[in-house]
Amino acid sequence: MDFLRPASWEEALAAKAEHPTAVPIAGGTDVMVEINFDHRRPEYLLDLNRIADLYAWEVGEDSVRLGASVPYSRIMEHLRAELPGLALASHTVASPQIRNRGGVGGNLGTASPAGDAHPALLAAGAEVEAESVRGSRRIPIDDFYTGVKRNALAPDELIRAVHIKKADGPQQYAKVGTRNAMVIAVCAFGLALHPETRTVRTGIGSAAPTPVRAAAAEDFLNAALEEGGFWDNGKVITPSVAKQFAELCSAACNPIDDVRGTASYRRHAVGVMARRTLTWTWESYRGTRRTIEGAA
């Protein structure tokens, strides 16, 4: 095994171009487990810890450019207002020790369907900034996950940053597991209200071969909210609408039975989380509207 230690991003891209099988390592919270257990013996490890740029973030007008290695603990601490869904998801990652090391770039690189960040990214709307010596490109998050632990990266590409839309409304995240800390999600659900476009976006984790959005559920809810004038009148969501939304979210799952839970449990739990996160975010949206009206 060779340990490659690029001191700059350009050096890292050159190393990845020269050794496309090199395994990038940043927080190490996935890669080192595989090496410790002898599940993986990569020819090259490509250490990204020395590249300071990967640990920085910029808050822009519409989106946040989040460096691939920004640890979850920093996201929780500094980006709660801009990225509330991702901050909540970050808080559910493992333990403080792991959150101090792991970041969204690793979650995307591993592309496990159980990665905690994915549902939040799908719900908020995001693009992955991938780069190689051939150039840079932005991959929409909806096109990024291509299979179980597979993603749209080319062998010579590295993830540099993720561009995540800043919240324009309430966002929520829910995760089912046996305890609060140190659990791989049995399933997870992210939901974001986007009042500016009058749309709702979702993300489902650990209940299909890849993280997915519940597209039919979103379409149904967007139409129902529009039809009932909910965005304007701020009324409580009709229970039948919430119920059907939940059922459509369950239907968007394609889960398996495994040690963490059965397929039918996952389907059911996703429906429950969908209904709850919709209620929480909508109540928050209504509350904000009331405050604004009261102030006017």
């Binding site: 340990f3 190490g28 080192m32 487990v33 490890l45 250490d47 333990s95 101090n100």
Partner: protein
């Protein structure tokens, strides 16, 4: 490969390090510092917790090559580390923590033991220099088999540095990455509360 880094305030060099080796392995097997414990090797248990540039991490998940040029504090250096911190805040009497010693040498760290040559007592901690969190663990009876203790000490000490007046929820959150299979955590909670109370009295 060779790795140069700082351990407990002193520069160290580890040789013949395999590229896939963890920081934990380097500390235990190459530098002779077995205080950080090897249990799950997958970041689940927190027994190998150390400070890396001040931040608590699982040393089993840090590749040895990643610590080149960086600073690591292990449980063996915790007493000295805590003493320096309290000196920095003016909370200790002048010179009491030996600020001129410049960290903990490998030899000192290897000899570190609550029953060392200095006639120490592992039950009371008398005779050896302990961090306040270590003394609190002894006083509260928070140590049973002791395997998880080093990781808990490092994690708890860091929390008290950051958050001197923690709520029970803060403590549980800060220690949520450390598993103890003996105590049921209640004595550990007592110990951290005790250390926090003593810290605020001393301040």
């Amino acid at each position: 490969m060779r790795v140069n880094f700082t351990v407990n305030g002193r520069p160290q060099e580890a040789d013949d390090v395999w590229e896939g080796e963890s920081l934990l392995y380097v500390l235990r097997e190459r530098l002779g510092l077995p205080g950080s414990k090897n249990a799950c090797e997958q970041g689940e248990c927190g027994s190998c917790t150390v400070r890396l540039d001040g931040v608590p991490v699982c040393s089993c998940l840090v590749a040895a090559g990643q610590v080149e040029g960086r600073e690591v504090v292990t449980v063996e250096g915790l007493a000295e580390y805590a003493a320096r911190r309290s000196c920095g805040t003016g909370a200790c009497e002048a010179g009491a923590c030996g600020t001129d010693s410049g960290g903990t040498s490998l030899d000192e760290a290897r000899r570190w033991s609550a029953q060392g040559t200095r006639g120490t007592d592992s039950q009371t901690g008398e005779g050896t220099e302990l961090a306040p969190i270590q003394q609190a663990f002894i006083d509260a009876g928070a140590v049973q088999c002791g395997f998880c203790t080093p990781g808990l000490l490092v994690a708890a000490d860091e929390m008290l540095e950051r958050n001197p007046d923690p709520t029970d929820a803060d403590i549980r959150e800060a220690l949520s990455g450390n598993l103890c299979r003996c105590t049921g955590y209640e004595k550990i909670m007592d110990a951290v509360r005790l250390a926090a109370a003593r810290q605020s009295e001393g301040a």
